[in-house]
Subunit: 443 residues, 2 copies
């Protein structure tokens, strides 16, 4: 009889410019002058690796975000950046956000296969459909595609990518110098895809990679998003404000897996948390207050307008939210709209208060406390059915990440909740997920 | 009165899998088992940097090339690979081939801006239009675009990319923490492009990079290709078999610059050479013979068929070339067709002989000799008006590159023809080209 190892949690470091808080770049502990400097991100990745974290992750969009006047922006394209980080790290997983709406599956499948090869099996893809008109206008369109059509395209995009990643069997390369045979072409397969959005012949021009294909990550929590995640995703990033909301989302998403022939262990749910860490609770709250005071109201209002799909310019900051549209009529990030609208209504917040509450996490949960208190929060969500791990969003970088690694991780390790050493080499090893079998291989 | 420094030549290392010779992977000095391994390419890049070369370069196509049965293929996507190489090198330029036919300008401009930032100004773009139907079939098409239309699209693509690269002035980032102003938005500019192929709003979401934009490289030698190069390119890779052909091409291309308001120094001509290096001439010839004997005739015939646009399968290897179409009717690589057809006709080669002649360089010049003899060849072309430098195509890797760096480079240095140390940091510094001025800046 074998004993099951104790369940441990997973930690992803979500890295962003000078930090997740929208005023991070103004805070003296941040380094905004370094965000166009590769060494800054390499150091952050090494810090995460020092903490034995599962992975690092970059969000992305394909338009200038927030107009750059009041927010610090490096803007490196994530696959390019993660390739340069791969070269100076050994274990940490590397998750890039890339849009299915503004790319071609052959190019993208190839880039991820390349990153997976050159990182020794550490690539992950956060699949997004791009929800803003600013992005559409950089890609030959006046308006962006309707929400449902974007997900249709995403589904077909992923099917093509999966075919391409399976187009070389793992043992296709025979490398027989004497016979002059490099690859056994019986083990290469066309994609031969002809669908509504794509026609792709294949095979891919990169051999199958260490993980077979990148870890598939998804972060949309709308109905379309959850269904897409249930079908394909192996990890889900989500914004949940309360334990009850987190539990409901977790249960909902896991219950959808069976209809795609998948089990609950096949998908990890990783809610975001922006932890403000202090050696005392008062110190943590003081950091939070400092950051709130550094917020630029015009920027916060513009961001809030974007999330709610309503122009709030000119409304009194100390007044309430105006009448809002229904989620049905939102064609951007539907789930974020609903979360923010409910947060405002539930707590009766003024615009100024809502901007302050959204400053650190843009809708993700924010928690200020000591390392023990932060660990308590993670443990609670992890043991109470709301999380398999967490998306750690340091409000200020690099300090917020090094504080988490140096002070919160050891608490989690002492409690037996987190690894003390890496036990595998690939990103799926870290997440405890199996390597996908090639569809062309029969047992 | 200032004295002009002596004119020195430029060297680019064109890296390919196990080496440029189509049988390189079967030769005992190659390492085909390492071509899906990042460390292999990092070592090659460091070898080139040890030799103080200007740059390394990867060719590319977006379809499986040669079907992989008889040719060793790693297939990493060049921008991904070069980003990982950037992280472990300091000086060497990094030139990636990317197609204008199967990409979107916003994505590509951003990737090159990212690579240029994270390499400290070492990015170069070899602009190709993709000439094969196999590539078109991976991108929703049954047939590929007509040659002239591909160049029209390439021109507009480049215009959009140039607008995006200029969309941030160099001093747009003010980083005023006290005032809460990150960027001076008066120094950000939309692209506002509306053309026949693209509509792109801009601005780019990456600040202007160290070089302003990547070095622009071009390698097509058709009429369309030469005209495109004369208008935009800063370096041209070209295949020329004889000194006379090299001189004619050099003169032709340089003479086209004036009509675009450019001078002869604005564009460097770099013919390819595949040097087989031996400590004696006999040893070099012996290496050439060994490689020829390792060629797989079926593979050579398929490659030749592709270059000539004629199916040669089943024709006797010891017979002559059949009747060939006119260059006008070739819709792939027109200049390579003409070069190969003329080589076969001029020397009355059989198919087998032509395959042997094309084995090491696919139409580029092949030369077997001692380091002194190789240096003599380079010096002759450089001083006789056929080259500003060379595209060095080691027939077998890694040995062909380390032999060149360790034995040919020192001869060139002793003759005062090549640098002994890097004097600048960026790729344009190495090539002696100025950093482009942003169009929005007035003196």
């Amino acid at each position: 009889m074998t004993t099951q190892p104790p369940r441990t949690l997973h930690l992803n470091a979500f890295l962003m410019n000078a930090g997740h808080h929208d005023a991070a770049w103004r805070h003296p502990s941040s380094r905004p002058e370094r965000i166009t400097d590769l060494s800054y991100f390499q150091e952050l990745a090494r810090t995460a690796e020092r903490g034995k974290l599962d992975s690092i992750f970059f969000a992305d969009g394909v338009a200038l975000w927030g107009k750059a006047r009041h927010n610090a922006l490096g803007g490196f394209e994530p696959l390019t950046l993660l390739s340069a980080i791969a070269a100076v790290t050994e274990h940490i997983g590397l998750i890039a956000t890339v849009s299915t709406t503004f790319n071609e599956p052959f190019n993208l499948a190839r880039k991820f296969a390349s990153l997976d090869h050159l990182s020794g099996g550490r690539a992950g893809w956060n699949i997004v459909t791009s929800g803003t008109v600013d992005e559409a206008r950089n890609f030959n369109r006046d308006e962006h595609l309707e929400h449902h059509v974007r997900y249709e395209r995403a589904r077909e995009f992923l099917e093509v990518a999966l075919k391409l990643w399976d187009s070389w069997e793992d043992d296709a390369i025979v490398l027989d110098r004497a016979a002059g045979v490099y690859a056994d072409t019986d083990k290469l397969h066309p994609a031969a895809h002809r669908g509504a959005h794509f026609q792709v012949a294949g095979p891919l021009n990169v051999p199958r990679s260490p993980q077979g294909y990148p870890l598939l990550v998804q972060a949309g929590s709308s109905e379309d998003g959850k269904e897409f995640a249930a079908q394909y995703a192996e990890a889900v990033f989500t914004a949940q404000q309360t334990l009850a909301d987190g539990q409901a989302f977790y249960k909902d998403l896991k219950s959808r897996l069976a209809r795609y022939g998948r089990s609950e262990e096949d998908l990890l749910v990783l809610p975001g948390i922006a932890p403000l860490i202090g050696s005392t609770e008062a110190e943590a709250k003081e950091l939070e207050r400092e950051l709130t005071e550094l917020q630029v109201p015009a920027y916060g209002l513009a961001q809030l307008s974007g999330m709610l799909g309503v122009d709030l310019t000119g409304l009194p900051l100390d007044g309430p939210l105006p009448e809002l549209p229904d989620e049905r009529d939102i064609n951007g990030n539907k789930s974020r709209f609903t979360l923010v609208a409910e947060l405002g209504r539930r707590e009766g917040l003024t615009l100024r208060e809502l901007i302050a509450r959204l400053g650190a996490g843009r809708g993700h949960r924010v928690f200020a406390g000591t390392p023990e208190q932060v660990a308590d929060q993670l443990q609670e969500w992890f043991t109470q059915g709301a999380a398999d791990g967490f998306n750690i969003m340091a409000p200020v970088l690099p300090t917020g990440l090094s504080d988490f690694v140096d002070h919160v991780v050891p608490v989690l390790q002492r409690r037996g909740l987190f690894r003390t050493e890496y036990t595998g080499r690939t990103l799926r090893d870290h997440y405890g997920l199996p390597r996908p079998v090639n569809r062309h291989v029969t047992a």
